[in-house]
Symmetry: C2
Subunit: 344 residues, 2 copies
């Protein structure tokens, strides 16, 4: 028997209706043995180092029926992407001491019964936290959505919403490496400065200061938009559809502006999709993980040669996790929101 130690966990108190509040979650201290229990062949036991705050977590906090993903179980730790160190393994492909990234619990230690869905951390020169972002799911989302779905061509115009977030900041930088003109929008002056001065967007604007999204887009794209990487949906998507160029592409990545609404906003101008011959595609990064090695081959040198910049918003300690998650939906974070549970 291994030593039994305390295990702090973030548990869901009740299903969320619209907005998530800190009080929807509790911090609880449980006990765990740092050894695979008997009867758990193939499992691994990990120490969680970094947890990732991602918009999709809110969906699982709601009471979903017949939905594409399962709701969390009440009074149990929630889960999401994270970076973890293996403390014990009964799986032949995973060894004690190895680092992995992928689905884990919001707790200090997790027993992962099916580690086959995890990726090993392939490059240890870069910060491990990057595997919750630029080198993990959000990085793959930017890569797949932009290169596979938007088919960028040199000289095309690209618009990115939620542009300072984990995905958006990368899409903008990928667009620059592809020779595109790129404009991003975000929700504060600080974020807009980041877009222009740190991430190299050609232009950026604070959507909260715009009365009329349509007019804002016309200002930055007098000749229209070739590519829209949509992270927000709703009224911004509608405004974009008024400003598309012929044969434009829209990658629908997420609709964060809609997740907390009781009823989503209507899109009234889909006729533009015909008139402008637009291709609009929704995608899930998880369908495209076979491209992960190809993505890493591209992105790791870009990071090491400092051709790409990456900004994280780090919350310290698992106690800060509920607040960090809530802040994601009010846009409080600047850059990728990560929670550090432990550094090693």
């Amino acid at each position: 028997m291994g030593e039994e130690i305390s295990n702090k966990q973030v548990v869901l108190n009740n299903y969320v209706e619209t907005y998530v509040k800190k009080s929807d979650m509790s911090l609880r201290t449980s006990k765990i043995q740092l050894k695979i229990p008997s009867g758990c062949d193939g499992a691994i036991l990990v120490k969680n180092l970094y947890l990732s705050c991602d918009p999709f977590i809110l969906s699982r906090m709601k009471k979903l029926e017949g939905h594409y993903i399962a709701s969390f179980t009440l009074d149990s730790p929630i889960s999401g992407f994270g970076v973890s160190k293996i403390l014990d393994s009964s799986h032949p492909n995973f060894k004690t001491g190895e680092l992995v990234w992928g689905f884990t619990g919001w707790e200090e230690y997790s027993l992962i019964k099916d580690p086959n869905i995890l990726f090993k951390v392939p490059d240890k020169d870069l910060p491990f936290s990057y595997y919750t972002g630029i080198l993990g799911m959000p990085g793959m989302t930017a890569y797949v959505g932009f290169f596979e779905f938007c088919s960028p061509k040199k000289g095309e115009t690209v618009y990115v919403s939620a542009a300072s977030g984990a995905v958006g900041q990368l899409v903008g930088q990928f667009a620059k490496t592809a020779g595109c003109y790129v404009v991003g929008s975000a929700g504060s002056k600080e974020k807009v400065d980041l877009l222009k001065n740190k991430f190299g967007f050609d232009e950026a604007f604070n959507y909260k200061e715009e009365q009329d999204y349509n007019a804002a887009l016309k200002r930055y794209f007098p000749d229209g938009i070739d590519i829209y990487f949509d992270n927000v949906g709703g009224k911004m998507l509608e405004a974009v559809l008024n400003n598309m160029r012929l044969n434009a592409r829209v990658a629908l990545c997420g609709m964060i502006s809609q997740y907390s609404l009781e009823q989503p906003e209507g899109i009234y101008n889909l006729l533009n999709v015909i008139i402008k011959r637009v291709r609009m595609e929704g995608f899930f990064t998880s369908d495209h993980y076979h491209l992960y090695p190809k993505f890493m081959e591209m992105v790791v040198p870009l990071i090491k040669e400092e051709k790409i910049t990456y900004v994280e918003d780090i919350a310290e300690g698992i106690e800060s996790a509920p607040g960090a998650l809530v802040g994601l939906f009010s846009g409080r974070n600047v850059g990728k929101q990560v929670v550090v549970v432990a550094r090693e």
Copy 2:
């Protein structure tokens, strides 16, 4: 100087706001010489045989500003697709006596200044009126939209709205040749019978008798829809988005349910496009006419071998043209609405 004869024309009296009425048009008798006037090098003079009633004509009857197509000129003949016989030509590639299809005026005789946009009628064994439909723009629309944009695979499920119309009836039959299960909707019992008994759709329903489009689609597609060929937009499109299978495709061909509304209906469930990884594309047939020879190679044998059926709703005489056009928007026509101006 050629003989001056009378030329009946359908002219637009005023711009249409929502619904088109017969009184928005007038029949006028003008005069024309059956010879190319001097100073019109490269023009042809044609006798119009068949005129095509197509939904896009309504768009041009509205006062459009900054739109993708130009409004018609008031007090002038409206125009659209037709089949015509050349009476005189000053263009080296077009000869007197040849038959052409393409843009022409709603009048008995037209002077066409740029005949390069016309197609010659390549096969004279089939009824000439077919070049307003199955062998013309609507046929190409069904072909391009279904095969190029929907990428059908054997065994997939296909839904077609406005299915008894010029385009829909062909999409359904193309879907059957591709080994798909196909369901169509239309607006009367007579049309539904046609879909099932004449065009070989697997199932068909009268959308006017359905309180809940969502429930109707669930009945015919218990496992969901792989391909939606959308001719109507609006609430039907929204219902379809609730019933898509993973990796579904939606070809947006037209939104006839929306053209006469003061304000289009909103689509509230685009999140499904992400969840189901849907590809939604708008297209214009006119971008794809380079495929016309390939299309004809496929469709002409299918017609001659009676593997494909085609139904026209023929209105006699140019005097009937305004009423025929108006009927298109109330769904009065059964099959492709054609106006016969002259048979030869």
